[in-house]
């Protein structure tokens, strides 16, 4: 009888503590980031894992929808031996329970924007398993140097990670890359604003061994992966085209047609001023063949290069 009263009392206290902790400040809230990291590192090396795994955690956290959503996704799969739920379960990522369940006095490894833990410490959890070629350039990447945490982009406690969905990845990227978000809406741009293309078609958010974290070794190689007709080589090359597509184009968008930095004839005249027609002042666009229609491209239509034996002027 006394045992039962004590048991009920204990359960009640635990429940009240759990509920109060989920709604109020935690005892470790006043720790600085460094102190928290130190504390968690000590706890991690002590390795005091719970005796019942996820059941110990879910005793308190099972009413939290966000927590339970882990079972909807890959990380909650119990039959995949690489999944955390098939191993140390919740503690595989959140660290050993220690005395966390005894009045909630000890912190756990937490993720997300409210976590005081450094990005590198948070990311070490993910990298413990995700050590594949896609992450090969992570450490030198801008996202790592800018201390972006995996959880800033990725959501694990859900059926689907928005960063891995073709229809929402652009929103994930453009929530920080606001200039590029605006560029999508310019007069000409790649069809990103309708999610017909995604940022990751060209860029690797985990970093790459190319400039601007591009997927391919060079800028031009990246463009050729969709515009293979521009790859050539061709008999008569246009030197700035061969050297770098972004000499003339801004792939994120432009107020000019064709994602051009300026339109013809002005763009062409920023490089061509020969003793001939190309250096003439074009005062109005629709008056003659120099400013009307396709401007310089009325004649020099093979602007990306020509394979015609007589095509050195990129006309045929």
């Amino acid at each position: 009888m006394i045992y039962r009263v004590f048991y009920n009392l204990f359960c009640g206290v635990v429940t009240v503590l759990c509920l109060s902790l989920s709604a109020h400040a935690t005892p470790w809230q006043n720790l600085t980031g460094e102190q928290l990291e130190q504390k968690l590192a000590e706890k991690f090396s002590a390795g005091e894992y719970s005796s019942k795994g996820a059941d110990s955690c879910l005793m308190c956290h099972r009413k939290n929808e966000a927590v339970m959503a882990i079972f909807d996704g890959t990380h909650g799969m119990m039959n995949n031996k690489q999944s955390p739920m098939a191993g140390l379960q919740c503690e595989a990522c959140h660290g050993p329970q220690g005395k966390h369940n005894k009045g909630g006095k000890e912190p756990m490894i937490a993720f997300g924007k409210d976590s005081k833990l450094s990005a590198s410490a948070q990311n070490s959890v993910c990298q413990g398993c995700h050590n594949d070629p896609k992450q090969m350039a992570w450490h030198s990447s801008t996202h790592n140097l800018e201390e972006v945490a995996c959880s800033d982009c990725h959501t694990l406690h859900s059926a689907k990670d928005p960063a891995l969905d073709k229809l929402s990845v652009n929103d994930t990227c453009s929530s920080c890359h606001t200039k590029e978000k605006a560029d999508m809406n310019k007069r000409s741009s790649h069809p990103l604003k309708w999610d017909q293309m995604t940022c990751i078609d060209c860029h690797s958010p985990h970093g790459s061994m190319s400039e601007s974290a591009l997927n391919k070794p060079t800028i031009n190689d990246t463009c050729y992966s969709c515009h293979s007709e521009k790859r050539g080589p061709v008999l008569w090359e246009h030197a700035p085209v061969t050297e770098n597509c972004v000499t003339c184009h801004n792939p994120h968008g432009s107020v000019n047609e064709g994602m051009l930095k300026s339109r013809a004839p002005q763009l062409c005249q920023q490089c061509h001023a020969p003793d001939g027609h190309a250096s003439r002042a074009v005062q109005e666009p629709g008056m003659d063949a120099f400013g009307g229609g396709k401007s310089c491209l009325n004649c020099h239509s093979k602007i990306h290069g020509s394979n015609h034996p007589s095509g050195s002027l990129l006309q045929r």
Binding site: M68, N79, L145, E147, S225, C299, S301, N307, S312, R316
Partner: protein, 669 residues
């Protein structure tokens, strides 16, 4: 002495200890006391079976300009229908399947299927259809058939639109330390694009497009505790089904884009030594084009042996020397070696057959990039980063064979305040190089004062300030301002100056679990100045180009209505792109500059939806989309408005388009 040594040893250990990374990786876990036999996971939820949703949509499009198809997913005017879905399946033994489909049945849609066993193998099938619309009902007097463009009194009406249809199959296999993948895709691109030929006066026409690109990628990777390596191959094969084009009175007036292929083999790796990480890659590639050349007098070849060999390498290292200081650096090398042969070919001047011989110019390009950077935490919440980059480019047959650009940059990140994050970036770059020479091979007739902007001396200064403020738990505001200026000091003719500045404000509001809203606004200005010389001497005309972009958007989502059954939402977007050019100078007018004509576009886009749950399994969604689009370009003129020039007509847009859709969704579980 021994005691002192011990003190030193302990101190060193303490220092090295403090420089050790906090690594919470599961591989480092102290699992001595764990007995996983007691893990029962009674409270865990099994998600075996099917989950997700399938939806069928039907609706109506009101489209009178096919350009609206870009935003509406299809340019069909009238009834439309589509199937979408997102289904996942898994069973107790670890088999999984995922299927996602989006707007199948419309011009823009995709489907993706993945099946396999988690962590062991996966088969992927992918299909995507992507259609981009430029203009509809374009008119030309030229009719294309099998390489012949025949002029006709009957008008040929067609759409300037390109459709890409891509199918792919991929398979990956591996677990733990090894992984392999192979992927094959094929993309067909069809439609018409605007082009032009010289006959001998210029005639714009709709170039038929019918091409296929095949891609084969394969690779294998191996990993250990602190290393990782991957060997991969990428092959791409482009083939064009459109032949060289002729006019009845003029053979081969327009050469077809030749078939080509490219191959790359890449070896990459990463090695981690405590808090130092090294990564590197070597990619060797070859691009080949040996399509048959047009046979004509003055062409000595059946086909040309176009071949580019490429070599790209990189080595990067980054190290956390202490918990405050990170140092990094990288070296990049890229070589484009043009191995194609050089021959002489007859060239025609535009007004007749008085040609001369000219050699093709196989340009080589070699790049070296060096970067060093440091990041130092000044105090908790204050971090300073700085770096130096040097980019060297060497190119043959060019006015400037060497250019090098040195850049210094610095960033200050402040995250010490609870509700504020501040990031300040500044950079200074300086490009110079070898003497700028007018090269006989490339530009014997170029004005000696011309400096091509991608080769010219340039000073580039840029600054950016970003402030993120979360005054309340449900509100976040992000403000960014930018300014950049390029000065081409040594340029008298060509691009002389460019300024790019602007701001954007993004507001995010989460009023409650059910109600959220957002808003953003931004403007950008790009002002550039250039000079030219019609008299082939000093500058006698100049052009000022003032680009402006305005972007405003807002939206909301309100769920939880009618006992959690109804969600309402809406989005509005406005964008306005303007480019104003004015031409002035002594040649043009003594009284100032001459405005160049309209060149702008604007777009209002509204989307609204109501999502109603009929039951736990079924839902209805009613959505409406409105697109108002206007663009104009004074260069667009009627077909024969300019003597000696035949255009495709005025291809400007001015339309209102509407789409109403009703979707029925069935939720699995």
């Amino acid at each position: 002495m021994r005691f002192k040594l011990n003190i030193i040893t302990v101190s060193l250990l303490a220092v090295s200890g403090s420089a050790m990374a906090t690594n919470f990786g599961v591989g480092n876990a102290n699992t001595d006391s764990i007995n996983m036999d007691k893990y029962q996971c009674k409270r865990c939820v099994s998600t075996s079976g099917y989950r997700g949703e399938v939806s069928v949509s039907a609706g109506y499009n009101s489209v009178d300009d096919i350009h609206a198809g870009n935003a509406l997913g299809t340019a069909e005017d009238g009834a439309i229908a589509a199937v979408s879905g997102d289904i996942r399946y898994q069973n107790e033994t670890g088999y999984r399947a995922q299927m996602q489909a989006h707007q199948l049945g419309m011009d823009n849609g995709f489907a993706n299927i993945k099946v396999g066993k988690s962590g062991l193998y996966e088969l992927e099938l992918d299909y995507q259809s992507l259609k981009s619309y430029q203009a509809g009902d374009v008119q030309s007097q030229l009719w294309h058939n099998d390489g012949m463009l025949t002029p006709s009194p009957y008008t040929n009406e067609f759409d300037l639109a390109l459709k890409r249809e891509k199918s792919a199959i991929g398979f990956n296999y591996g677990e733990g330390i090894y992984n392999t993948f192979i992927r094959y895709s094929q993309e067909d691109k069809t439609g018409h694009q605007s082009s032009s030929l010289v006959a001998p006066s210029p005639v714009n026409f709709g170039l038929p497009v019918d091409a296929t690109t095949k891609q084969l990628d394969a690779g294998a990777s191996l990993s250990g505790d602190n290393w990782l390596t991957e060997l991969s191959y990428f092959g791409s094969y482009y083939s064009n089904n459109i032949k060289d084009l002729s006019l009845p009175h003029m053979n081969d007036v327009y050469s077809a884009t030749p078939d080509n292929e490219a191959h790359q083999v890449s070896l990459s790796g990463q090695y981690q030594l405590n808090r130092t990480v090294m990564s590197g890659r070597l990619v060797t590639g070859r691009m080949i084009q040996d399509d048959a050349l047009i046979q004509m007098s003055g062409n000595p070849l059946q086909s040309w042996d176009g071949q580019i060999d490429t070599l790209d390498g990189r080595f990067a290292v980054t190290s956390m020397l202490s918990n405050r200081l990170r140092l990094g650096g990288s070296v990049d090398y890229s070589k484009r070696d043009n191995k194609s042969s050089v021959w002489e070919f007859t060239q025609y001047s535009y007004n007749g057959l008085s040609g001369s011989f000219k050699q093709n110019v196989p340009q080589d390009i070699e790049r070296n990039t060096y970067k060093v950077n440091a990041s130092y935490r000044l105090a908790s919440g204050y971090r300073l980063q700085a770096g130096y980059d040097r980019k060297e480019v060497e190119r043959s047959y060019s006015e400037r064979e060497q250019t090098n650009e040195d850049s210094l940059w610095a960033k200050l990140n402040v995250s010490a305040f609870d509700t504020f994050n501040v990031n300040l970036k500044a950079s200074h770059g300086n490009r110079g190089g070898s003497d700028y020479e007018v090269n006989e091979v490339t530009s014997s007739q170029e004005n000696a004062l011309m400096r091509k902007y991608y080769l010219a001396d340039r000073k580039r200064n840029a600054v950016e300030l970003n402030v993120n403020h979360s005054p309340l738990s449900w509100m976040s505001i992000d403000v960014t301002g930018r300014y950049a200026k390029d000065d081409y000091d040594a340029t008298e003719i060509g691009l002389t100056e460019s300024q790019d500045f602007g701001y954007d404000v993004n507001l995010s509001l989460q009023f409650s679990k059910h109600l959220s809203a957002y808003g953003f606004a931004g403007q950008q200005w790009i002002d550039s100045a250039q000079a030219g010389s019609q008299s082939f001497s000093s500058p006698d005309w100049n052009a000022d180009i003032e680009d402006e972009f305005i972007n405003i958007g807002t939206g909301f989502s309100y769920g939880g209505l009618m006992q959690d059954k109804l969600t309402l939402g809406g989005d509005y977007l406005f964008s306005n792109s303007i480019s104003d050019t004015s031409v002035g100078g002594s040649l043009v007018t003594a009284n100032g500059t001459q405005p160049y004509g309209d060149y702008f576009s604007y777009n209002h886009s509204v989307r609204m939806y109501a999502d109603y749950a009929l039951s736990k399994q079924m839902a209805l969604k009613l959505s409406y989309q409105y697109e108002r689009y206007y663009d104009t370009d004074a260069a667009q003129v009627a077909t024969n408005a300019v003597p000696g020039l035949t255009t495709l007509g005025e291809l400007n847009h001015d339309y209102n388009a509407h789409q109403v859709m009703l979707s029925f969704s069935y939720l699995l579980r």
